[in-house]
Symmetry: C2
Subunit: 198 residues, 2 copies
DNA sequence: GCGGAACGCAACAGGTCTGTTCTGATAAAA
DNA sequence: TTTTATCAGAACAGACCTGTTGCGTTCCGC
């Protein structure tokens, strides 16, 4: 986004930026693609002149970058009694995010069009995926140190097993709304105990 | 696809249909979207005249339907000694499919643009997802009947846990090539035994 | 050999999006 | 009050895609 420092003149309407981001989320949520979405459509849906969009964002990429920032929820801190509870709490946040249909559509579109928006794709992994994954690793390591989780497990592998079902649902655009707390608890329970008969 | 039965006249070049499907896979694999991909670009990449495409497929949807059919591998039969081995074998097929970059891109694009291609989306779930899921359910049920898998597990839930990590990788477009046999075995092993300390 | 269909190539009108450039009006600071 | 930047709205050329039509050519079966 282009931030300009000037002394005099009319101030930019802050609602314009919000309206533009909301318009992108609405339209992508309705099935538009990132490359296919036109500034005309965005301006129209936002109730804003195209001029105002071009004044703020040089390219569509810049606008999408802002949208990605806006839907990136803060990373919560965890320090519950057990790693098990921390894992469940973290997965619950992930599931909650899945329930935001517009954000899910935006991320699906980004993953599908990664080739067309390499910078967006890079930032998504660096700023959203990586920190959350690192947090999961830390919790799992703690569980091992506490004697709660077997010490011979492959940490990244365990993480994939935990988050996989949730990400797969987001990726396939499943419309079924899961209860975050209950579902995360069930996942952790099953991964802890396994399905095999002792 | 439009199949016409005529008695006389020049025959259609069968290579045209293959070239068109390959062109779609190539272009989508390179980052094109289903809505954004133009018949001009497809014809150009396939080395075929636009006319030939219009003659075969009324709309882009029809062409994509053919492409989806082409990348749908046959459903293998399973009857190994144990449910554990059947599950691993089935997951290995899924992982193998993930390794086909073009097919993965095509499915990612389809999921991202489901709203624009409802018929394609419906067929994908009915013809590709549903039969494979049903097969997984059957194997899990058999494992329960054989006393190999705990009888109190939720079958669809176990299935999601098993296939989730693989689908999540496909959805995120991970470029890392996994060994199908080894990875599927590791997933099944971990899901059977669990990560918890007994 | 001849009719018929598919072939590649080219052209066309109608539509859309982009990026830029005008306007006149509005709002806020100097 | 004057200055200055923003605002909405409209216009423009250039590019692209679509769906259709016409052309002459190539190939296959009758």
């Amino acid at each position: 986004m282009t931030t300009v420092r000037r002394s005099a003149g009319r101030k930019r309407d802050p609602r314009t930026e919000v309206a533009a981001r909301e318009a992108v989320l609405d339209l992508v949520g309705e099935g538009a693609t990132l490359t296919g979405l036109s500034l005309v459509a965005i301006a129209e849906h936002a109730g804003v002149s195209r001029n105002s969009l071009y004044r703020r964002w040089k390219t569509k990429d810049d606008l999408y970058l802002d949208v990605l920032d806006a839907i990136n929820p803060p990373l919560p801190d965890f320090d519950r009694p057990s790693a098990r509870e921390d894992l469940a709490a973290h997965l619950a946040v992930l599931i909650e995010r899945t329930l935001d249909r517009r954000a899910s559509s935006m991320l699906r579109a980004l993953l599908a069009e990664a080739a067309a928006f390499p910078e967006l794709h890079r930032r998504y992994f660096a700023e959203i995926v990586a920190p959350r994954r690192e947090m999961m690793y830390r919790i799992i390591r703690r569980g091992i140190a506490d004697g709660e989780i077997r010490s011979d497990v492959d940490i990244p592998f365990v993480n994939e097993l935990l988050v996989g079902p949730i990400l797969a649902r987001m990726g396939s655009g499943s419309s079924e709304a899961l209860d975050p707390r209950e579902t995360s608890r069930r996942i952790v329970d099953l991964v802890y105990s396994g399905i095999g008969v002792p």
